[in-house]
């Protein structure tokens, strides 16, 4: 895809910052709450915001995850549009009542009297050997949860576009920033348009195998596909970008063509979202059309600290190559 003429090359984290900046300048009802956001946030996602928008719209909060999440909901119920920053995903575990029992339910339970128009940003995944409580990818939990949108982009442009869409959405959006890709660069348009949820990105085209992935694992998938190409294996690589809603049509069209499907995620393989993708394709296309279908994820162990241990459990390009070949029966 050609970059628009006005595009600028930005890191992923800066792309997200520009998206929120653009929206906060547009709509005074939008505000950010979370730990250390007045100092720019843990990753600099909100650098300069306090100076521009003041302390009422850029609120550094106590380390009170339940109330960060729940107060965001309360503020949404009276008509503001909060961005709830959870610092890293793992800390959102302290706010599961507010997220699962309240945010995800309130519109339905109250018969549509109110919508929870808010974004919860939860940077997730393995990053700098941060060990078991700072490395999790549990996005599948939330794809299983009625009432929320689940976004998990992998590029600067998609991060920007999906964040704009998330902020403008009246649905609660769980936004999984890919921590490990914050430094990745790419073109981002000066005027960021919303990127609709549920539309996948075709990363590579190839006729031998459909590979589906999202979030932090995409660069490893691309490296694996480059290696496979060296051996003459063509891969249709699809980045789902959002897990709910997800682009079933794009995946089905690809699998109908290749007949072989591999879903790759950084998250634990067992009961991951890959299982849903595989199951839906078999239901939809029939077992005869799906000649082979596999998942590749992490083993069902917590993420360890020591670099060789972490390396042993995480999904890598080499493991993706091996899984792709297994799917091809090679």
């Amino acid at each position: 895809m050609d970059a628009p003429a006005t595009a600028e090359t930005l890191t992923l984290v800066e792309a997200g910052r520009r998206a929120v900046l653009q929206e906060m300048r547009r709509d005074p009802r939008i505000w950010v709450l979370g730990e250390d956001v007045a100092r720019g946030g843990l990753f600099g996602q909100y650098r300069g915001f306090r100076d521009e928008f003041g302390p009422d719209r850029v609120v550094s909060t106590p380390i009170s995850e339940s109330t960060i999440m729940g107060a965001g909901l309360g503020a949404a119920l009276v008509g503001t549009r909060p961005i709830i920053e959870m610092r890293i995903f793992d800390f959102a575990m302290c706010a599961m009542d507010e997220l699962v029992n309240q945010i995800a339910k309130i519109r339905y339970m109250f018969g549509g009297q109110a919508k929870a128009a808010l974004v919860v940003r939860m940077p997730h995944g393995i990053w700098r050997n941060s060990a078991a409580q700072h490395s999790q990818t549990l996005e599948a939990w939330f794809a299983h949860l009625p009432g929320v949108v689940v976004a998990a982009p992998s590029t600067p442009a998609d991060t920007a576009g999906l964040l704009v869409a998330a902020i403008r959405s009246d649905d609660p959006v769980l936004f999984f920033d890919p921590k490990n890709l914050f430094g990745v660069t790419g073109p981002v348009p000066a005027e960021i348009d919303p990127l609709p949820f549920g539309i996948a990105r075709q990363v590579l085209s190839g006729g031998d195998l459909t590979m589906v992935a999202w979030s932090s694992i995409l660069p490893d998938c691309e490296a694996a596909c480059a290696a496979l190409a060296q051996e003459g294996i063509g891969v249709d690589l699809i980045d789902l970008r959002t897990l709910w809603p997800w682009d079933e049509d794009a995946v089905a069209a690809s699998v109908a063509r290749t007949g072989r499907l591999l879903v790759v995620h950084e998250a634990v393989q067992a009961a991951g979202f890959g299982a849903e993708v595989v199951a839906r394709m078999i239901e939809r296309l029939g077992p005869a059309a799906v000649k082979a279908a596999r998942r590749l994820g992490a083993p069902r162990v917590p993420v360890p600290f020591s670099p060789p241990l972490e390396e042993a459990v995480k999904v890598t390009a080499a493991k993706i190559v091996a899984a792709a070949k297994a799917t091809l029966g090679a």
């Binding site: 009802r29 505000w31 009422d56 719209r57 609120v59 909060t61 106590p62 009170s64 339940s66 109330t67 999440m69 729940g70 107060a71 965001g72 909901l73 309360g74 503020a75 949404a76 119920l77 009276v78 008509g79 503001t80 909060p82 009542d97 507010e98 029992n101 309240q102 309130i106 519109r107 339905y108 339970m109 109250f110 018969g111 549509g112 009297q113 109110a114 009625p146 009432g147 929320v148 949108v149 869409a165 403008r168 959405s169 009246d170 649905d171 959006v173 919303p194 609709p196 949820f197 549920g198 709910w244 809603p245």
Partner: protein
């Protein structure tokens, strides 16, 4: 028992308190009878005996003020002005309920009168209340938020978090601890260390006071003082109201573990009977008060009959009000 002096209270206000309490009582007794008769699905948590809390606090709120409530929230909703026809239909799970039959007793909400919802999770409304207050301020509103919760909620983390949060940002929140002495089936004192809600609030710098929650006049007076301070911008306040849950945790719980004498003594402190005695003492005719009761009972019976006559929700509505994103593109 000592009654709060009537200074500052005119007769209209007392009668308004009485009417609200009587309407809450009639609503819940009507609902309980239907529940016992097997006409109403789901759990039902009644606040019989606690009506002065809702009536006294909400009499000090404007229509555009907001409240959050808990699982025992019928009284809070009625006192805030929620329509009883929609509430009753909701309890029966019928079309026309405030939530279209998707919420039931535990999730009554009426956003049109600032009732941001009952809550099935103890302390669940506390973070929502402080956030609502923060949002209202951001929007330039001078409305305040009253947050109802029970004595059980003060042992949950969100109570501590919410108090700290509201004090830190000087938010317009009136925390109302409706202390009926019992958390589900266990006496609050058996599971709560230290002197309780007021001391915990004061430790965080939130001014707090405690009054007899079965004395509607006292509740009204204290809520008026604290709500005025909150509305002035003095920051949050906590009002601790001692009351008594005359019935069990749910409509099917007899709470038989409580000594009969304790319950009998509590019945003697019934807030409605107490206010009635005062009104009679002030020269109000018994017939006038009986007419209020008869009116409330007729209102609630009519609401019940209408709810029972209402159709069940269209099953297709089970699929609505979930998510826009998987149905249409983002604008």
């Amino acid at each position: 028992m000592a009654e709060t002096a009537l200074a500052g209270h005119n007769m209209c206000r007392l009668i308004e308190l009485y009417r609200t309490m009587v309407r809450i009582r009639a609503f819940e007794e009507t609902a309980l009878a239907a529940h016992r008769a097997g006409l109403m699905p789901g759990p039902l948590h009644a606040s019989i005996g606690q009506e002065a809390v809702a009536a006294g606090v909400c009499l000090n709120l404007r229509r555009d003020d907001r409240i959050t409530s808990n699982h025992r929230g019928h009284g809070h909703a009625i006192a805030k002005g929620a329509g009883v026809a929609g509430m009753m239909a909701e309890l029966f799970g019928r079309a026309g309920g405030h939530c279209g039959g998707k919420g039931g007793s535990m999730h009554i909400a009426d956003f049109s009168v600032g009732m941001l919802g009952a809550n099935g999770v103890v302390a669940g409304g506390i973070p929502i209340a402080v956030g609502a207050a923060q949002g209202l301020r951001l929007l330039g509103s001078d409305a305040i938020v009253a947050c109802f919760f029970g004595d059980g909620a003060i042992n949950r983390g969100p109570f501590l978090e919410g108090l700290n949060w509201a004090a830190l940002y000087r938010l317009p929140v009136l925390f109302v601890c409706e202390d009926n002495g019992v958390a589900a089936f266990t006496r609050a004192g058996e599971v709560t260390a230290g002197p309780g809600a007021v001391a915990r609030a004061q430790a965080i710098g939130v001014a707090a006071e405690s009054v007899d929650g079965n004395d509607a006049v006292a509740v009204d007076a204290a809520a008026g003082r604290l709500a005025a301070a909150v509305r002035r911008g003095d920051g949050p306040r906590l009002l601790h109201l001692r009351t008594y849950r005359l019935l069990g945790h749910t409509s099917t719980d007899q709470a038989a573990w409580r000594p009969e004498q304790e319950v009998a003594e509590a019945r003697a402190r019934d807030p409605i009977a107490r206010l009635r005695a005062r009104l009679l003492g002030e020269g109000v005719a018994a017939a006038a008060l009986d007419a209020i009761i008869a009116g409330a009972e007729a209102e609630m019976s009519a609401a019940r009959d209408a709810a029972l006559a209402a159709p069940w929700p269209d099953p297709a509505t089970a699929w609505t009000d979930v998510l826009d994103a998987d149905r249409q593109e983002v604008a």
